[in-house]
Symmetry: C2
Subunit: 192 residues, 2 copies
DNA sequence: CGGCCGTCTGTACATTTGTACAGGAATGTG
DNA sequence: CACATTCCTGTACAAATGTACAGACGGCCG
């Protein structure tokens, strides 16, 4: 039954991610994760070699699922017809991400962890590339002269803006909403 | 002797920041900070009420010094004559930041900590505003139609790009260097 | 049935950590 | 000089943490 095994493992990984989203990577302790996942303490040490291993796999896990999400999102974004439409969709995504902070905070925690741990750089890289690719298709559809580079800029701006939204936790979704005209201006200028 | 007191306090705060830059916020323990600062364990509990207090003050301390740095840098940037010149200066700053990671990583750790701790949001806000203002003056000098908003975009892009550079620690400065043409393109498009 | 094996869990233990606090050293004050 | 006050540090201890591991449980084969 690797099915059951996999779901149990994932149950633990996702509990770890919820903790990261709520209280940062330092909150990932065997005991806290076990409690959050509703499994006994022994489970976390059974499925993962060490605390570091658990943290690493949790970040790789969220990276993998975000890559998949961007792949699907990339397909949809190829159909945009105007800078405004793309800006709207990207802002909607950002607002949604800000609303359900877990994955979004995990992304930033992953960057920082990757800064000190080479094993995580590949995951960070893959995540970043997927995000960029999902936007590049849309930039191409809008007639950008260099879709890859423009997408790189748009994604960098989104990440930077998202960061700011997170730090205004009173209402990060509202903060994200305010970036709509900014993103519009950026995309318009790049493809115009 | 508040002079001596201040320097001792700062000695501890800066040791904490070096630890953050090297191993993240979770590395800030009384013992690790004391050892890094070369002071006895009792000192850290004497100058700071608790571990949380120490972490908070360390982040506020680096925020304050970065605000000051941006204020000075803002003056200099007002004299730029072209998009290329501004892009060059901003890239140089980014390369320098990536080279000496501590303050740069601290910035991101501050964002994340501010996401969960309201007391830190003001510092994050102030830092962000200072960074934006330092660029806004230059955008104005270049004839931007909306310097504040353009600066907001440029700063967001820089922060997003910087994040990426950090995750490629093999040589973050080299990664930052590669953003030079991207920044140039962005600024040119915005003010053009 | 008995034996075997992989899955899983409760417990135990050495470390690490936050923090309180008694008292030492230094400095000022009469 | 005695004394008070403030600054500082070593030590102690409870709590939290990482991790090893003995053994329970459940299926499966002979």
């Amino acid at each position: 039954m690797e099915q059951a095994t996999a779901s149990r493992r994932e149950q633990i990984l996702e509990a770890a991610l919820r903790l990261i989203g709520r209280s940062g990577r330092s909150a990932v302790t065997h005991r806290a994760v076990a409690e959050e996942a509703g499994v006994p303490l022994g489970s976390t040490t059974y499925y993962f070699d060490s605390r570091d291993d658990l943290l690493r796999q949790a970040l790789e896990h969220v990276a993998a699922s975000e890559v998949e999400r961007y792949r699907r999102r990339g397909e949809e974004l190829r159909s945009v017809r105007s800078a405004r439409e793309l800006a709207d969709r990207l802002t909607d995504d950002l607002v949604a991400a800000a609303r359900d902070r877990v994955a979004y905070i995990a992304e930033y925690e992953l960057w920082l962890e990757a800064g000190q741990r080479p094993e995580l750089r590949e995951a960070a890289q893959t995540w970043c590339d997927a995000e960029q690719r999902s936007v590049a298709g849309a930039m191409e559809a809008l007639g950008s002269s260099d879709p890859a580079k423009d997408a790189s800029l748009v994604v960098a701006a989104i990440d930077g803006l998202g960061e700011r939204a997170l730090a205004r936790e009173d209402d990060p979704a509202k903060a994200a909403e305010e970036f709509r005209p900014e993103l519009h201006r950026l995309i318009e200028r790049l493809v115009g």
